[in-house]
Symmetry: C2
Subunit: 195 residues, 2 copies
């Protein structure tokens, strides 16, 4: 019944129709409202989430109460706390809907079973992992080397679609700056581009 997810698993994940149908026990599709919380800090993450429609974010809250956004997950993205799932540890972060969304809850068993069932899925899964590493690694690099402005420019070229959908203060949080600073960065850029 999760049509998008099913297609995704079959076309990109390397599962056959029959394999997929053996795994549906570990899946649930849910419609949730904006602000729904899927995972809280301290909980052990039991599911990955696949976004069929809508938009999720994952974020931490530091000792001083500030939020730091780890990742946005729009349509056809996965989000979860891999470490929490894999090592069975309490999660460091939160996962929340920032739009009304339709989300597939993928129980951790799904991945295990799918991996046993299909070597092509296993490869796909490793590819996801590797991609994830590449992605986070780039982010570390940016944070180490780039100014707020160039991080923002990088953001808009990586996620042009999100610009319109994500409130500005969340983008600031993703970039590691304050909303005020982002506002000023944008002002600067605007003045540069129109003269």
């Amino acid at each position: 019944m999760p049509a998008t997810f099913k297609n995704y698993m079959i076309h990109k994940g390397g599962l056959t129709l029959q394999e997929f149908d053996q795994l549906t026990d570990s899946l649930q599709v849910k419609k949730v409202n904006k602000d729904h919380i899927f995972l809280r800090e301290g909980e052990i993450c039991e599911h990955s989430f696949f976004v069929e429609s809508g938009l999720l974010r994952s974020f931490t809250i530091d000792e001083s109460g500030k939020e730091h956004i780890i990742q946005f997950a729009p349509e056809n993205w996965f989000v979860s706390d891999r470490s929490s799932i894999f090592f069975n540890e309490p999660s460091d972060f939160f996962i929340e809907a920032i739009e009304d969304s339709t989300v597939v809850f993928i129980h951790k068993d799904f991945m295990i079973k799918a991996t046993e069932l299909s070597s092509r899925f296993m490869e796909y899964n490793e590819k996801l992992l590797q991609n994830n590493i590449r992605h986070i690694q780039k982010r570390v690099n940016l944070l180490l080397s780039a100014s707020a402005e160039s991080r923002y420019l990088n953001f808009i070229q990586l996620y042009p679609d999100l610009l319109l959908r994500v409130p500005q203060w969340m983008i600031a949080s993703y970039l590691g700056i304050t909303p005020e600073s982002l506002s000023r960065v944008r002002k600067d850029l605007a003045s540069k581009n129109f003269k």
Copy 2:
């Protein structure tokens, strides 16, 4: 002949002695001097490196010519550019010895063959990957949320042994600050602790 590595693969990596011996074609042990470069930006990474003794680092160089240290690899650590190996892409970074070192060159075939040979090794390998993600993720978090001082404190409790071996300007580079700033941070900490 790489005794430490062999032990490591058998005790932690889940390989049997016989399995390991089938794979030695993909291994070479080399002694290299300080400043030896294992990988340059733009090259495709063909090996993982296992440090038997000594100390390596991986780092990027940004457009303005500044180095940013990604990782230190002391004894019994692995270092490589996973993304470059996995996706067959030019590497973003450099790998270099910062002490005279003995290093096992692990050709990318090793991992592939070992994974086919042993499901226990496969699990071990995934664990390495997951650990890697956890580790980088924590770093992103620190960079987003913590001051230079607390990043330094975090560093010394994570890698107390490296403190003595790594020149200070490299630690600064790892933390994403200038050597001058790190010097001042240390001065501050010293004055706090002795009064």
